[in-house]
């Protein structure tokens, strides 16, 4: 577009983004509220954050959640990357449409169904419920998101480099680690981060599949939210929002820098050749 943005477009951008960001902004602002009444401003204070550090149940739940998210995101990234490779590179095989169906369906499947079905599986397997069952459940739905993210990265890249390596006698596993993985790496990292935050957020599936001693942070937040809005919960939420925002911005800056570097290298290679 050569012309500048019209007033209509600017208005819709401003309104749209205000709608997306105002609620979160208000939540953050009111976490610094002196007053216990969450909707009346009583002056600036960080006392709710100090209160959080003394709330051991909340801290316990936080550690459980971080551990679940870390393990499930890591396993989900491995499985999801494999699934993406299968979808993009494996060609036809028996049951391929079932496979792609199983990868895409969890993305839109209501969480209550995923949670209930996994719980019933664990009961049928006579598996004691707790940390590991939540982790397995999160791995399963997160791997599908990873697969989609990595797949979009795989589709966009030049297959001839891989083929060249194989023609020169490089075994497939080595080709993957030396050529494919470095190229799709931003996608893999993005997939891991997505899996991590999905696990960090999840209330419904965790509620179904958890057991004694494995209460996650969203479950804790949920049980307190049902009793009403409190400044402590605003503070927990602010920390989580800050955490995720910093992570996403850092990752996108890192990707951008890598991209700039690669473009420079490519230009240098062309100039040199």
């Amino acid at each position: 577009m050569t012309r500048g943005p019209s007033w209509f477009n600017v208005t819709s951008l401003v309104l749209g983004f205000s709608f997306l960001y105002l609620p979160i902004l208000l939540l953050v602002v009111f976490s610094f509220n002196e007053s216990r009444l969450v909707t009346v401003w009583g002056g600036f204070s960080t006392k709710w954050y100090a209160e959080l550090l003394r709330n051991e149940q909340l801290l316990d739940a936080f550690w459980v959640t971080i551990r679940v998210a870390f393990f499930s995101a890591t396993v989900a990234t491995v499985l999801g990357t494999m699934a993406a490779l299968v979808l993009v590179r494996s060609g036809r095989f028996v049951g391929r449409s079932l496979f792609s169906g199983m990868v895409f369906a969890p993305l839109v499947m209501p969480e209550v169904i995923l949670g209930l079905s996994l719980l019933l599986l664990f009961v049928a397997m006579d598996q004691a419920r707790g940390f590991w069952t939540v982790m397995l459940a999160h791995t399963t739905f997160a791997m599908c998101y990873v697969a989609v993210v990595v797949q979009s990265r795989l589709v966009g890249f030049d297959k001839s480099i891989e083929e060249a390596a194989e023609d020169l006698g490089c075994p497939p596993v080595r080709t993957f680690f030396q050529i494919t993985l470095p190229i799709i790496f931003p996608g893999v990292i993005a997939g891991w981060m997505l899996a991590f935050t999905l696990s960090l957020d999840d209330l419904v599936i965790a509620s179904f599949t958890t057991g004694p001693g494995a209460t996650t942070l969203p479950m804790k937040i949920y049980s307190q939210v049902r009793l009403g809005v409190t400044p402590e919960i605003n503070a927990v939420c602010t920390i989580l929002v800050g955490f995720v925002t910093i992570g996403v911005i850092a990752a996108s800056l890192a990707t951008k820098r890598q991209q700039v570097k690669r473009e420079r290298d490519e230009r240098a290679a062309i100039a040199g050749g």
Partner: protein
């Protein structure tokens, strides 16, 4: 392409098979197999036992017992679902609420996606990031944020009272309106992203040609932009509608006691009434309702992928 894939399939190595087998097996075990268990339990009866349903199959007891158990399965729970109109009304109201919310999301999301696609090129990565960022932020937190805004003594009412637009606080929280707001807010990025993708690809010269030929902008929008963005509209609406039908957190936290949604009904049946067989039957029916839009959505995605590929 076809010959290439078939040749690569014929000389697939052991490692190639393992690559397929591992994620396949995982999804089969943790995604597909559980549905069969849900279906089986939906045919069982509630029991005061661990697990709380009957019959609980135990292969260790031999085939004879297994056969006896099989005879105990019945459609009783499904008959129960049709007899109690709570379930029927929950399904209808879920689909209605999801459809209305999807429509509002489209009305809110279209101008946003359009504005993004028409913004200067150097803004676009930032704008895209701003749309994606809320998606990374906890769903629960974003829903929770609205409670403080929509409450009777909440920020929205305070603002409207101060401005003198209303004399009495509006009751929004714990009504269906709050559920609409919650769904529109939470799922807006899902609609904006595919819509933006299809609007951004749109060839600007078409619009310029229309303008040169004297077509007014609104007509150009109606005749060119809108029809060409239909794949994005469809994809986005599916991405909002399907998960919204089974939504639990939003109706539970923002809706009132008379907001019926099937995700909430299933949750109550499972956690409060501890009736596993009936909640399984509710899940099976919900799945059947969603199978149609899910299959339509996948077909559309496949068609779009083929067109681009």
């Amino acid at each position: 392409m076809a010959s290439e894939t078939s040749s690569s399939a014929s000389k697939r190595s052991l490692g190639g098979w393992a690559l397929i087998a591992v994620p396949y097996f995982w999804l089969f075990l943790f995604f597909l197999a559980p549905f069969f268990i849900v279906f089986k339990i939906s045919l069982s009866q509630i029991a005061v036992a661990i697990p709380p349903y009957f019959p609980a199959f135990d292969l260790g007891q031999g085939l004879q017992v297994l056969f006896e158990d099989l005879k105990e399965l019945s459609l009783e729970n499904y008959i129960f679902l049709t007899e109690d109109d709570l379930y029927w009304r929950s399904y209808v109201s879920s689909v209605t609420i999801a459809a209305i919310s999807t429509f509002i999301t489209l009305l809110v999301g279209y101008p946003l996606a359009y504005g993004m696609a028409r913004s200067p090129k150097e803004w676009r990565p930032t704008l895209l990031m701003l749309v994606i960022l809320p998606f990374w932020t906890s769903f629960l937190i974003r829903v929770y944020a609205w409670i403080g805004i929509l409450k009777n003594e909440g920020l929205l009412n305070q603002l409207l009272l101060t401005l003198g637009l209303i004399d009495q606080p509006l009751t929004i929280l714990n009504t269906n309106i709050a559920v609409y707001i919650g769904i529109v807010y939470s799922y807006l990025p899902f609609l904006v992203l595919p819509l933006y993708a299809s609007l951004e690809k749109l060839d600007g010269t078409l619009l310029e040609a229309a303008e040169d030929l004297g077509c007014p902008p609104w007509k150009a929008f109606w005749k060119i932009t809108l029809p060409l963005s239909i794949p994005g509209i469809i994809a986005g609406c599916f991405l909002v509608f399907i998960p919204a039908v089974g939504e639990f957190v939003i109706p539970d936290l923002l809706g009132g006691s008379n907001t019926l949604m099937i995700g909430k009904t299933l949750w109550v049946e499972f956690f409060n009434n501890r009736d596993w067989p009936v909640s399984s039957a509710v899940a099976v029916i919900l799945l059947l309702i969603l199978v149609i839009p899910i299959v339509l959505f996948q077909n559309q995605q496949q068609k779009m992928a083929e067109r681009e590929g």
